[in-house]
Symmetry: C2
Subunit: 434 residues, 2 copies
């Protein structure tokens, strides 16, 4: 989000309403996050114009382009771009992420999404989106192809023997000859192996299919969890699924999103939150809510709870986990449509921590120590101010409690997450002929 994760943040006097296309704005945010020793900066994305242009800043720079521009003015912070497996080709996308990894010295991450909704499909020659399970099946094969391409050059393929006039050894750069249900890709990639071997793989869907994909492939998971109990259950479930597939549970980092609304007193924090909520235009927000719930705005009177007869999650082919999160939140707290809109407008379903820096640090500590998170995706309601406050006032508290690094310990994103560089899966020639 350009001016902050609260949908009305752009209306504040200090916000730049054109920040969504300003590379300088994002470069400054990344430098600020790097000063705070954040693991990474992350951009959500979808290949469709999402939301109402009337309601808030819409349209955004393509994330691999934006993160490359950020790479040039930073030196340590990780760079995680969202890209769709449903609306890309594996050859092009694998190369692009490997390019970002090269250009940034090993700081690239890929948030793998399957892109819910019929709107995106219509930008890609389709009348409607492929079914949920079909999208996830394609995503898994897409990742297999990408892994093979990233490994199609041995790390030591190029020997650069000027005297003999031999640049690389042919047998260390090999076709992948992938033939699958969704893809036939010959390879090899047209780029030597990247500094991290492969970019860090991130996943964010919390549906059954999404959790299955995460357990198999993800090294970090972004998730929206409203309560500590939900977050603990999600954490335990995903770690168990990962272990069940023979992976070390430490090799997947679970990172709930949190919206820190910070004031020097609790009253000031609450005032900021109320001020922002009052800037939401409810009729626009209701339109969006109706779309997600597959009903009409007239089905959602402002001062009544959600209708009882909403579709079940398994009928939803779109963003299943988001749908369930919204319905569960509304039902659990018996919220009216107006109240629900306030909650979603502030954090879009992520947990909001409102209070003083100490209260926010306490909340983070309690989630972390209670086994609900390996770390957090910090989503300030207002940018850059909310990030600045977090870096200057919350991070030092976490550092003094030995909960957070005081400096980077290595140059790559994998170092920040304490994950090893993947060895090359492709068999060495000697192994292949053994």
């Amino acid at each position: 989000m350009s001016t902050g994760h609260h949908e009305a943040s752009w209306r504040l006097p200090e916000s730049d309403p054109f920040a969504n296309t300003s590379v300088e704005h994002y470069q400054a945010l990344a430098q600020l996050a790097e000063r705070g020793k954040f693991d990474s900066i992350f951009f959500a994305d979808s290949p469709v114009l999402f939301g109402d242009v009337g309601r808030r800043p819409a349209g955004s720079l393509e994330p691999t382009v934006l993160l490359t521009a950020i790479a040039a003015v930073t030196s340590r912070i990780g760079l995680i771009a969202t890209a769709s497996t449903t609306y890309n080709d594996p050859f092009n996308l694998a190369r692009r992420f490997a390019s970002v990894d090269h250009v940034s010295g090993g700081r690239a991450g890929w948030n793998v999404v399957t892109t819910a909704g019929p709107e995106a499909a219509k930008n890609f020659n389709l009348a409607d989106q492929p079914a949920h399970a079909e999208r996830y099946e394609r995503a898994a094969e897409f990742l297999e192809v990408a892994y093979k391409l990233w490994d199609s050059w041995q790390d030591d393929a190029a020997i650069a023997d000027k005297e003999a006039g031999v640049w690389a050894l042919d047998e260390r750069v090999v076709p992948i000859d992938h033939v699958g249900r969704h893809f036939q890709v010959r390879g090899p990639l047209n780029l030597p192996r990247a500094p991290q071997g492969r970019p860090l793989i991130v996943q964010a869907g919390s549906s059954e299919d999404g959790k299955g994909l995460a357990a198999r492939y993800a090294e970090a998971v972004f998730t929206a969890q409203q309560t500590l109990e939900d977050a603990q259950a999600f954490y335990a479930d995903l770690k168990a699924r990962t272990a069940a597939l023979g992976r070390d549970p430490e090799s997947i980092k679970i990172l709930p999103g949190i919206v820190p609304v910070i004031g020097s007193t609790e009253a000031e924090a609450l005032r900021l939150e109320r001020e922002l909520d009052e800037l939401i235009r409810p009729e626009y927000a209701r339109l969006q809510l109706a779309k997600t719930l597959r009903v009409t705005p007239e089905d959602l009177p402002f001062d009544q709870p959600l209708p009882a007869d909403l579709p079940a999650e398994d009928e939803i082919q779109g963003a299943k986990s988001r749908y369930t999160l919204i319905v569960t939140l509304a039902r659990r707290e018996n919220l009216t449509v107006r109240q629900l809109i306030g909650r979603l407008g502030g954090g879009r379903g992520h947990h909001t921590f409102t209070g003083t820096p100490t209260q926010v640090a306490d909340a983070i500590q309690s989630w972390f120590t209670a086994g609900a998170a390996d770390g957090f995706n910090i989503m300030p309601p207002v940018l850059p101010a909310g990030l600045e406050t977090f870096v200057d006032e919350v991070i030092p508290l976490l550092q003094s409690r030995n909960l957070f690094r005081t400096d980077y310990t290595g140059p790559t994103l994998r170092h920040h997450y304490n994950l090893p560089r993947p060895t090359n899966h492709h068999p060495l020639p000697t192994e292949a002929t053994a």
Copy 2:
């Protein structure tokens, strides 16, 4: 080319053989070119591993990523990336180029290629490339879709009225609803209109289909011409084709590639050229030549001319114009295979100007004044040294003859080429309903 356009340049003692993946190398080259007030820096590309990894540095950073990294350390020079219309989707690619244009403050250009050869097809689920005419038909429709997407936001769509809570006017951001033979794309683009309106469109194929596409869409054309007469004929032909389609011939800039081999004396320049040619490994080069000519290496004895019974151009589905250029060059000058390899290894079919800075400036001037070029694509045999010499010794001569700018006159690539910013083709709402 990373270490220079001569294929053996990487073997020189001063060359960095890993420059092909070094962003710092390319950033320094771009800064050097910007010091020389060049219009732009340009990267060829293909979504396939091209050439022999044993022979010379292979694999390259994806151009839109690389140019974005360059944008961050330069302020004026144009940034032209090659991308294929055969192996991309228009929605994703249109957005990526618009993103580069935003991030660079209006310096993006797109060299539109259709990607010849069966090898690339095999990276994209195909057994062979689509036929030549089919690829060009798709390219034309691809460009139509891209134009519509770039114009799907009016320039003044976003009004950012914080008081009223209205960010953009809905009627100024409209679907394109494109339905064609190759593409169905709903739109609008998920990004406000770019600083240049649209990136500069560049084209480089010289086949009949290629010239047709250029005359209709291109604003700049890269071309390989061996002789002044050929260059003049190509120039006159393409300007006439452009005018015949109702376009101002000034709106298309024709830029032959030239390889300047510069020495402080003519003898020194010739020595440098010979030194480089002697570093070519002929058996590798013959393999590549055989592939292009669709024969086997055994069909090409080193000390004999090309075989008489090569296929006609219209049987070639690949890079038609490159095929014809090579065959014409060999036949016209009655070159042996070995001699042909030397000529191609140095400039890959582009004209080589070998001599002192004054001789090179004279040659450039003569081509320019004889109606063979609006400008040139400078392809130094060795990088960065060849570019440095050109900037420091040839550019000042051209400036003193009033043939080249002494400073940039505007911030965007369109300014450098003296081309207007395109007005939005999409009808305004009032016009649409009139």
